[in-house]
Assembly symmetry: C3
Homo-oligomer: 264 residues x 3
């Protein structure tokens, strides 16, 4: 695969990644975007999101902290991105936990042509109508389940579904890829899922014609950086700081050699 | 005391701690929640806060950056938490600095049954009607004063009052506990007070029947982690990163051995 | 110059720096304010911004993430600061990228007496009507251009213009200072520009009578800290943590000896 080549392209083209995301992780996803070599922009006003999304290389919508005007802005930005052929990544944080989150994620999927849906197994399963197969909001099933959830969501929702967990699965409904990079410390910091959605945005910005591959590349890059950050980390705090170091230091050659992507 | 046992319970039960807090510290309080072993959720939309608060193990309200809809959300969430017997922690950041903050904190205390009020001496004294005994918003009085402020606030406001400073004091109006863990570097980073309120929420979630003890346990856990983080820190930035490492690495045994809690 | 003396004054007086800034960097600018020795406060509600701004030593307005109520709050706070003779720093993040940002920055400059305008070359040039001399939003021209942009903006807009880049230029329209401290790692983290605006606020709070010098001092302090943080950093993440360590450890003597400020 051309994982490393796409990383080199990101650093050369520096795509603008427009993010309408939650308050908790904005700094983190902006720094992850910069560290991988792209340019972040956060903008949520209904007065400017269409202009910004149209000019971006990718749009990332993340429903982690919602309110009425932000939902309106996400829909406007998503439609503008669609009109400008800018790929849209949706991160349905906490879907299933409240009616507002479930309704909003479904409405975005209805009204916007979402390129990649990136969530954990419980979130993606909830949107694919597979709730009964998930045990608890935080519980992630076995490896095989992640693969099945990704495939079912891709087919049912007409998206590339990217389901992260101990092993990540990305499916376009036909082919399903498994990504086995990463480190358990990623689960100890808030926003690691949000960062993986942002990196998905960075990679789909330079390979919009192969969304499933691009989504897998983004997860592999994040996972390899997580592996590097874990070496020498003394816990979640030093790991978090080292994660940006590792994303920044990641070379195309290292990514090609270490990305662990295969058919599921 | 059962400080270490409660830490073990947090890690086993992983209580959901719903936080409606300020924009400045959301990432920090979410990461502190994860590091101690609980699950954070940030949600502020009036459409979802009642549902979220009812399902939580504790609700933390923090008025650090207010606006009209957020005040409305805090009141709705607080009442829903009361109805569901979910303990509510209030952090009255900057109360006394503007009329909006003072009015909002008083309104929350009026309309919501607050379990624990966690603030610095000036903030808690302002709410207890003891302003004249405080010199400046940032000034913290002598040790004896913190104890008196906590006791007076507990009696006057019908809450457990948790007053943090060089020495922390927690009072239910009858018994007053002093907690002497911590490190001066905690005062050099923004959000350390907010994080102590969040950890209070984590501990009251597993000991709602003994709020004063639970509040003291949360402060002791934060203080011990601060002591650990200070070793090897080169200043506020590396201390901040190491603080999450220390919270994550804190064992029940270490907490039991080092928590410095006594009658004031 | 009295760069070190002003740093000592900040630590002695601890001026309150009221910041109405973007969601992405609030934690970072608050921590930078604390590390240099001043007191940060974030407040954006229209109900309290006038009260807060009037009581502050400086007001920093940053348009990084706008919405309607925030614009209203910035105008109210700016006018209240003007009435109370509190210096106002404006950071026009992303001006030129959308009409909303351009219109808002122009409106603030029209309705508020801005003391210091701090931005990158493209942003300041856009506001000074020099767009044609800028190549792309992120592109910064040669050293001579930064100086010319600062001088033109100062004269055209009636402000002290502070243009940051590989070399920073600060002009009051007559005299133009060049500051050559800093490290390339500053450009790898989000919010470094916003932090330089915040430090500008800290320094103008203690030298409002010499705004250009104060603005240059703030940039020199930030640049020297950046140089210190880079030593031993392994990338953007560890650099970021070490930046607060370096601001906190910066002594008046070190700043005097290493600040590299001269006539442009």
């Amino acid at each position: 695969m051309r994982t490393g080549a796409d990383l080199a392209t990101i650093r050369e083209r520096k795509p603008l990644v427009h993010q309408i995301t939650n308050y908790v992780v904005m700094n983190e996803t902006a720094n992850a975007t910069l560290a991988i070599g792209a340019l972040p922009v956060m903008a949520h006003a209904v007065e400017e999101v269409e202009e910004m999304a149209s000019a971006a290389g990718a749009l990332v919508l993340n429903i982690g902290t919602l309110s009425r005007h932000w939902i309106e802005a996400m829909l406007l930005a998503g439609k503008a991105a669609n009109a400008a052929r800018v790929p849209v990544v949706l991160d349905p944080v906490g879907v299933g936990a409240t009616r507002l989150r479930t309704d909003t994620a479904r409405r975005i999927l209805d009204e916007v042509d979402v390129a990649v849906l990136r969530g954990n197994a419980a979130e993606v399963a909830a949107l694919a109508g597979l709730e009964s197969e998930i045990r608890g909001v935080e519980a992630v099933g076995a490896e095989g389940e992640g693969s099945q959830i990704a495939r079912a969501a891709a087919r049912g929702l007409g998206v590339v579904a990217s389901v992260t967990g101990p092993v990540d699965h990305v499916s376009d409904g036909n082919r399903t890829l498994a990504v086995t990079n990463g480190d358990p410390l990623l689960a100890t910091i808030t926003g690691s899922g949000c960062m993986s959605s942002t990196l998905t945005g960075c990679f789909v910005a330079v390979r919009p014609e192969s969304l499933a591959e691009a989504a897998a590349f983004g997860l592999a890059a994040f996972g390899v950086a997580g592996e590097d950050a874990a070496r020498g980390a003394e816990g979640p705090g030093t790991f978090h700081a080292r994660l940006y170091d590792a994303l920044y230091a990641l070379t195309p050659e290292a990514l090609d050699g270490r990305a662990n992507i295969g058919d599921a």
